[in-house]
């Protein structure tokens, strides 16, 4: 064990990072329990686990955001105290967060220097940084123009700037938290090439992700965390996605859903030449036409921010648009400036929004209050003309929560006290139990545990098999491929093409997602 390691021991032989007996509790919650992990120098080490398994807490301890209640940290064999992020940087640790921390209207150069200036005058620091940046940029294939303004660059660039920031601060150990969530497959591949280059230069990389495929593709070793404990560490070459999933959840998990072939019926939703201009005057959806029929799932693939969100908001009734939408053959009025969500619900459209925490739920409200959110005008929920029937709503909510396996099934808990997966089940329970003709689903499993994903997918397929139309938007290609009966790919506000999931693959869809047009596939 690390305890007998001394200063004299050769640094090259020691692991880059060794954590021994790390424990951390937040009040009654034991976020990390006696964690031991060792990451060899020059390795890419993956950490996977469900939400709340303690990955982020562990990395926050390593980066000095939290102080561990117990345990020791060894960097290159030396016992190191990391009380704050300055100390982490000094120890050669760099962190790339899931949500980038960049000043949007600064140049790349200014962002990199920010917080690492040499003196009160900027010029010297900037000149020095420019030279170093160019070096780093070419060395690792980062391809970032130092003078570009951050807000004008793509998300992929933003991430590379974060990596540059860490490297500029002489990071030898790089921690990446869910790095591919916002990237196209091509951008993700580019990132992995960068990581590979860094590895060849002897840097150590820790990759936190929930995507099993990434773990399998890029890591050398992988650690699985479960409920605050380190379950196991294995060589990536000696494991499989199924094995990892089982270790994460603690039971066998179906990674792809088995579903009977679709039996499409009449057209439920018809969208014709839909155009959306957002509040800043930017065209977001540029003439989309599509159809969803009863009993089928149309999946819309695409990188986040290519108009899918706006399409869903228009269908959900809170974004004005031009063009035509009809539901069961009846046209919908699109001109409304104000929210029209109420009349959409009355027409049989239910909507599971992309961002359950900002849109689908009110986090401060109790579960039962959330279970009528959007349907609070329904006469079934009123006691009389003035008062709502809270007791009845509570009772119904409890039943729905039990049917959708929300844990714990207590309607009097605030939405914020449920885990991500259970919050999503709350929203699904509310929307699916309305027995809608058309279900709009945005990112149904974002931030949801593997165990819950299986359940959520099953519910969506069940609704389809009851003859309902489902429009699914997801940035997770696996999800799109596994659930959809037809796949449409959106890029820059347009549909680039349509595919049969049985006759396409990731590479094919990836090209469409990157905007490589191939019109003959379009409907």
């Amino acid at each position: 064990m690390a305890n007998d390691k001394t200063q004299g021991r050769q640094a090259t032989a020691a692991p880059a990072i060794e954590l021994v007996g790390i424990s951390k509790a937040f009040g009654p919650v034991q976020a990390n329990k006696d964690i031991a992990i060792s990451v060899a120098k020059g390795a890419i080490h993956g950490i996977i686990g469900e939400n709340g398994a303690g990955k982020s807490t562990l990395m926050s301890i390593l980066y000095g955001f939290y102080k561990a209640d117990a345990g020791e940290i060894f960097i290159n064999g030396h016992k190191t105290e990391i009380p704050d992020s300055q100390a982490a940087i000094a120890a050669g640790i760099g962190m790339v967060f899931q949500h980038f921390k960049l000043v949007e209207n600064f140049s790349v150069l200014e962002n990199v220097v920010l917080g690492a200036e040499d003196g009160p005058l900027l010029k010297d620091s900037l000149d020095k940084a420019r030279v170093k940046l160019t070096e780093l940029s070419t060395e690792y294939e980062l391809n970032v123009d130092p003078d570009a303004i951050v807000e004008e660059l793509s998300v992929g660039h933003h991430q590379r700037i974060e990596i540059l920031k860490a490297l500029y601060r002489q990071a030898e150990i790089l921690i990446l938290d869910e790095p591919t969530g916002v990237l196209t497959p091509a951008e993700a591949d580019h990132l992995f090439r960068i990581l590979h280059n860094l590895k060849t230069e002897g840097k150590t990389i820790i990759l936190i992700t929930h995507k099993l495929r990434e773990i399998m593709n890029v890591t050398d070793t992988v650690s699985v965390m479960r409920r605050g404990e380190m379950d196991s560490t294995v060589k990536t070459s000696e494991t499989s996605p199924e094995d990892l999933a089982e270790r994460m959840v603690g039971r066998k998990v179906l990674l792809t859903i088995k579903k009977p072939p679709a039996r499409p019926g009449d057209t439920v939703l018809k969208v014709d030449n839909l155009k959306v201009v957002d509040e800043f005057g930017v065209a977001r959806v540029k003439g989309i036409s599509l159809e969803v029929r009863a009993g089928e799932i149309l999946g819309i693939a695409g990188v986040a921010g290519n108009g899918q969100t706006h399409l869903m908001e228009v269908l959900g009734g809170y974004m004005p648009a031009t063009g035509a939408i009809s539901i069961n053959g009846q046209d919908i009025d699109l001109t409304g400036v104000h929210s029209d969500g109420q009349s959409r619900r009355a027409r049989g459209i239910a909507h599971v929004p992309e961002d359950r925490q900002a849109q689908g739920l009110i986090m401060e409200f109790m579960a039962w209050e959330n279970m009528v959110f959007g349907y609070h005008h329904d006469p079934a929920y009123q006691k009389n003309r003035l008062l709502m029937n809270n007791a009845e709503i509570r009772k119904q909510s409890q039943a729905k929560m039990e049917r959708f396996d929300v844990r714990p099934p207590h309607p009097n808990l605030q939405a914020k006290s449920f885990s991500g997966g259970n919050q999503q089940k709350l929203v699904l329970a509310r929307e699916i139990e309305r027995n809608p003709d058309l279900l709009l689903v945005g990112q149904p499993t974002r931030g949801v545990d593997i165990g819950a994903i299986e359940f959520i997918h099953q519910q969506i397929v069940n609704l389809r098999d009851q003859g309902k139309a489902i429009l699914l938007v997801s940035v997770e290609l696996d999800e799109i491929m596994s659930l959809s009966d037809r796949i449409a790919v959106m890029f820059d506000g347009q549909i680039m093409g349509e595919r049969d999931p049985a006759q396409t693959d990731e590479k094919d869809l990836g090209l469409l997602m990157a905007g490589v047009s191939e019109r003959q596939g379009a409907a």
């Binding site: 009040g27 409200f365 959110f373 959007g374 809270n390």
Partner: protein, 365 residues
Amino acid sequence: MEKMPRWADVVLVPLISIALAFIAAGLVVLAIGENPFDMVFFMVRGALGSSSGIGFTLYYTTNFIFTGLAFSVAMHARLFNIGGEGQATMGGLGAALVLLAVPWPHWALALPFAIMGAALLGAAWAAIPAYLQAKRGSHIVITTIMFNFIGAAFMIYLLNGILKKPGQQSAETVTFPKGAHLPTFHEMLAPLGIEFSKSTPANISFFVALIAAFLVWLLIWRTRLGYQIRSFGQSETASTYAGISAVKVTIISMLISGGLAGMLAINVVMGEAERLILNFTEGAGFMGIAVGLMGRNHPVGIVLAAFLFGTLNQGGFELLWEMPGISREMVLVIQALIIVFTGALVNFTRYPLERIFLAMQKRAN
């Protein structure tokens, strides 16, 4: 898992805050060479030690309940209505116009109409800022505070002009008809054989305020409108998703808020002055913000906080009388300290307390 039990959050935190506030105020009093225990004694005795003290305390409490409720209804929709002062002023005008228009035969008939008049003009004064916020995005804090000044100036204009009592100098209307006189506590309690001081302004409006508090509770937690107001206040994006109109909620909650603020006039203009005078609000509109914050925007909390502030107000006046070494400004300092500790610095008490409770839970496990 809750960080600490609810009773601790609702009861313990305010009590400790008040204790801390009195310690801080005591140190200030000590610094100017007066006895802090005397201060506390005279304040409490002055406010609660006699029926006349209690009468004044309840009178102020009534005002603070109205303005505190007004603030909290808007706050539930996350609208910071800082214009309670102006809305109350206009409420006074509404009540006065109603009461002067008709030779009222009995207060029971006059009261509902005076409430309507006061609430209507109070709401009207809130309507313009509400419209500007909802439709034009003009910030409600700026517009409502401006409307306080406009309201005050308008009142000066009216009371020096068409509403002025003919043939004299002071800026006030004629006295309301005898039939519009509201029963005071003295008059209400006399038939029950309870001797209550005759010289205090506390009147039946206190019960109107309590009913208003109950109705606000019903509105916020039991009606569809209240549900929509709370949704909008918690998350505007989620409310958009749910089809709740931001314009509608903004305007309606501000109208209710303004109406409640306007009802302060029932207590002051109709109940106490029995004529419309200048500056009758005496800062109660602003005090409502502190009351609402301390009462955590819950009617029960607001009634309790209003009572605390009523006590402070009355106790402060008594203190001036009993301790000549303490000036009017000193009383304000003491009151301000208490507001700071119970309102602005409430987390100063809450966080350490949360930590204590967490440590206790941990040991229990």
